[in-house]
């Protein structure tokens, strides 16, 4: 993965101080900017492979950067935010950010998210026919799921739900995104459907319901399918 260029957007110089050496040490090239305007310019001219974006920028709201960049690019965006307000993050994710990480964070956590995002964006081109993770195997051609070799019977909706999570494994998928994909755009507010179906799905595939191994809850934001690579 050497040479991949990462754009880091944050107005706090202290953040750049540790992100730059860690990313370089991990084999990335780093472009560091402090404002939204610089970020949009750099995203357009320097073709970064990934953007790490702080939502609280001095000149404009970080969400606007996402909106502008998404207008012409599918480059993965990971949002950094000191804000603990869920709505901010959900709005960023719904605008097209690929993942988020809350401040303060350890560098390992961030690098893991960076790797997942880069891998998923590489996969985006072709749909995989067969997913294997843990003891779970999903054949998307014949829509069959098996756990430790035994077939699991899922309703069509449960299957669709599992599919969208697995396809984005390692990355958070917001309630809204799941609802729109499985139930249709008219149901993006009906999170109670989601809670019921996630519960049913977990009963069928999770060994320990108290500590789910596959479907992880991102409180208030959405769900994340555990990444096999982590």
């Amino acid at each position: 993965m050497t040479g991949l260029r990462i754009l880091v957007v944050d107005d706090e110089p202290q953040i750049h101080r540790f992100l730059r050496p860690s990313l370089i040490a991990s084999g990335f090239e780093v472009i560091a900017v402090e404002t939204a305007a610089e970020a949009i310019k750099a995203a357009a001219t320097q073709a970064p492979a990934l953007i790490i974006l702080d939502l609280g920028l001095p000149d404009r709201d970080g969400k606007e950067v996402i909106r502008e960049v998404r207008a012409w690019s599918k480059v993965p965006i990971i949002v950094l935010s000191a804000r603990d307000r869920e709505t901010e993050k959900i709005a960023a994710l719904d605008l097209g950010a690929n993942d988020y990480i809350n401040k303060p964070f350890g560098i390992g956590e961030l690098l893991a998210r960076v790797r997942v995002a880069l891998r998923l964006s590489a996969q985006e081109a072709q749909e995989t026919a067969l997913y294997r993770m843990g003891g779970l195997e999903i054949n998307t051609v014949i829509r069959k799921v098996s756990l430790n070799g035994e077939s699991v019977r899922l309703t069509p909706k449960e299957y669709d739900l599992l599919h969208i999570l697995v396809r984005n494994a390692g990355r958070v998928v917001t309630h809204r995104q799941i609802l729109a994909a499985v139930w249709g755009p008219a149901h993006t507010g009906d999170t109670q459907y989601l809670r019921v179906f996630v519960g049913q799905l977990r009963q069928k595939i999770e060994a320990d319901l108290a500590n789910p191994a596959f479907i992880l809850t991102e409180p208030g934001v959405g769900y994340r399918f555990a990444d096999a690579g982590e």
Partner: protein, 899 residues
Amino acid sequence: MNTQTGPRDGRPSPDALLKAAGQEGRGKLKIFLGAAPGVGKTYAMLLGAQRLQNEGVDVAIGLVETHGRVETAALLNALDVLPRKPVAYRNRTLMEFDVEGAIARRPKLLIVDELAHSNPPDSAHPKRYQDIKDVLDAGIDVWTAVNIQHLESLSDVVSRITGVKVRETVPDTVIEEADEVMVVDITPGELIERLREGKVYLPENARRAIDKFFTASNLTALRELALRRTADQVDDQMVGFLRRHAIEGPWPTAERLMVCVGGDELSPAVIREAARLATGLSASWVAVHVARFEGAERDPAAGARVDANLRLAERLGAETVHLSGSDLPAEVLRYAKRENITQILCGRSRGNIAARVFRRSLTDQILAQARDIAVHVVAGSAAPVKTSWRWPSALGDISGRAFVVAALAVGAAIGASKLLFYSIGLSNLSMVFLTAVLLCAVNQGTVSAIWAAVLSFLAYNFFFVEPIYTFTVAKPNELFVLMMFLLVAILTGGLAGRVREQSNAATRRAEQTRALYDFTRRLSGSAKLDDVLGAICVQTAHLAKGRAIVLLADGENLSVRKVWPPDDKLGPGEWAAARSAFERRTTTGWGSSTLPNAQYQFRPLKTSRGILGVAGLQPEDFREPLALEAERMLEALIDQAALAIERTMLVDETAKAHALAESERLRSALLSSISHDLRTPLSSILGAVTTLRAFGKRLSESDRDDLQAAIEEEARRLQRFVSNLLDMTRLEAGAIEVKTDWVDVSDAVRSATERIHKAFKQRQVEITIEPGVPLVRGDSSLIEQLVFNLLDNANKYSPPETSLAVHVRRDGTEVVLSVRDQGSGIAKEDLERVFEKFYRSKVHDGRPAGTGLGLAICRGIATAMGGTIRAESPAKDGKGTRLVVRLPAAEAVDGRRGI
């Protein structure tokens, strides 16, 4: 003309269904109606009750008088007789029907005898039928008994038949609304027989009077009345049944009656006649009073009689209407046409011959002008009462101002005429006297004008017509002129007087309108609830010519919010009335049917959103009911008042919601600011530490050093923020104890500067301390913190290469400490805001943001030591900021305290 069309389409009439729905959940009322005492109503009622009880119905006796009759008492033995309530009245204890007890007992059927009974004063209701209404409202069935003579509309007929005056009456509506009416009937002969056998109880003292009452002819007439009344009722019920069940007519034409009401003594009889006719025809009816000009009722006694008559009509079930106009009969007929009136009732008194010849009565005019409408004329009997009330007012006029002014005016006219006659030989002097008449008319009104006309006639005759100084007239043509003069004088005087009265009436009306307009304007002009309540109280008190009070709902409770005049208190009776008005949403207290002995009358303040409270008024004279004029004004006023109160309440609520939203916004801004300030250094520290651990070996030497330096800086930044936050919290909570040491400000300045040097090594600080700076009383560590915060702030907002200046001097009794930077300064409008908590200036080029607490803490410390702090910008050469702290010098503090 048919306003109550039947259900031609075969559907039940909505009105009938509504009426049925309104009665659901309400108890049923059965009335046992008798023609006279002793027919056996109570006995029949108890017999029926006993039968029902045997069938398993829960029957209770609220009140039954056996009058010592054995058979009746025997029936009572088997029934549950509820205890009565003792009520003290004029040193006696009366045993009265206990309404609350009966409702609490909740039988299926309650028996309460003597529907027409009047309760002693201080009871909840003055009449028993009102108590019974409460019981029915509670969902309990009631049986009761009444004699036909007690019916309001029949009371005068009964008096006429029997010669006995009926005092206790029951409105006809009570009977009309009863679910069942049963006539208890025996023949007159049988009743007289029973009377003779002593089976009917009669009190000794009333025996003789009653003997006259129980004659065969009386009893026959009463019996006929009772039977006819019940037949009417049965008819009504039949029609009601047909309507409810949508059975096709023929329906009786919906008749609508109108009765013309005046202040004369014939009106009550006409009203009663109308009530009987309306009942007979099952028609609705309306009582109309027509006046030439609204508010022009000059004679208050006549106005009161009109009010009393209209109230009687209301009691008998009429709707009442006031009309006004210049052409009275046309006004009446126009109203009749508009309201689809089918029959009009008017009274016609005999009057004297003069009145009949000179004045066509309203009745005559209506008769003459009415088309397609039946007019009933009720002729009055000889009424000596009539003159008895006319005379005093006429006499009053003679001795009153009207006559005096007329006499004076005529006297002056005589003088003037004499003068004119002798000076210029004017012979035709009638114009001089006519002028006197007109002056009287304009100043004093018609009565005075007519007196003046008559006096002028006499004076002219006496002083100026040959032979002079006699009342005889020599020439016939002189007599003719004199008569002409009298006629002209009376006519012009009368006309001028009427013009004056009309203009007075118009003025009064304008005043009333203006008063109401002023009131509304005052209401809409005041946004504060207190002002609105004040205006309402003053206006209500003015209308009632007494006191007023407003109580507003406070959740479920009422509390007094405004009283006028301000020193008034409510007694327990008034509180009960106020609560009752609030709960039932009707008028209670004085002048109403609920708790009429309360000193106040309470009216609910209702709007579409619900009830807000009650307004109370206390009249000047409890015997006088409110004039209808005042009543109408009051209704309008109360409506306006309720709306105005609601409006101010809504304004208050909106303001509160705004304030709440604002404080919520501030709170969330504060929270996010704190969370940002805490998290940013934590992020840097955590990120740097995890980077060092993960890549330690792979990082270059300089990167490693930089990360370690970053960790240290950020940890210090965090420490500063946390201690600032704690200082602020302690200052706000008043937990900082200000020690009163002797403090040398220059020491504090030096140690604070040293701390700044440690934190920001490159920064230059120039210190100037003028000689002779006194000590201050205070806490040395706080003063040092104050100076440090000022320097820290200056450091943050000025370029690193520029120097900071600290200056300490004496100014009178104060020590002045100032810190100046060479930054970009503070905008004028922000000079005060920089001391607010979490306020931060925007411009800082990438360097760490402040906590927004430093200067707030400075102000807290300065204030705690009795000093002040302010910001000045630009400080020097058009740039920079100077923060100036003034602390009281130690001697000055001591001097002030007199130590």
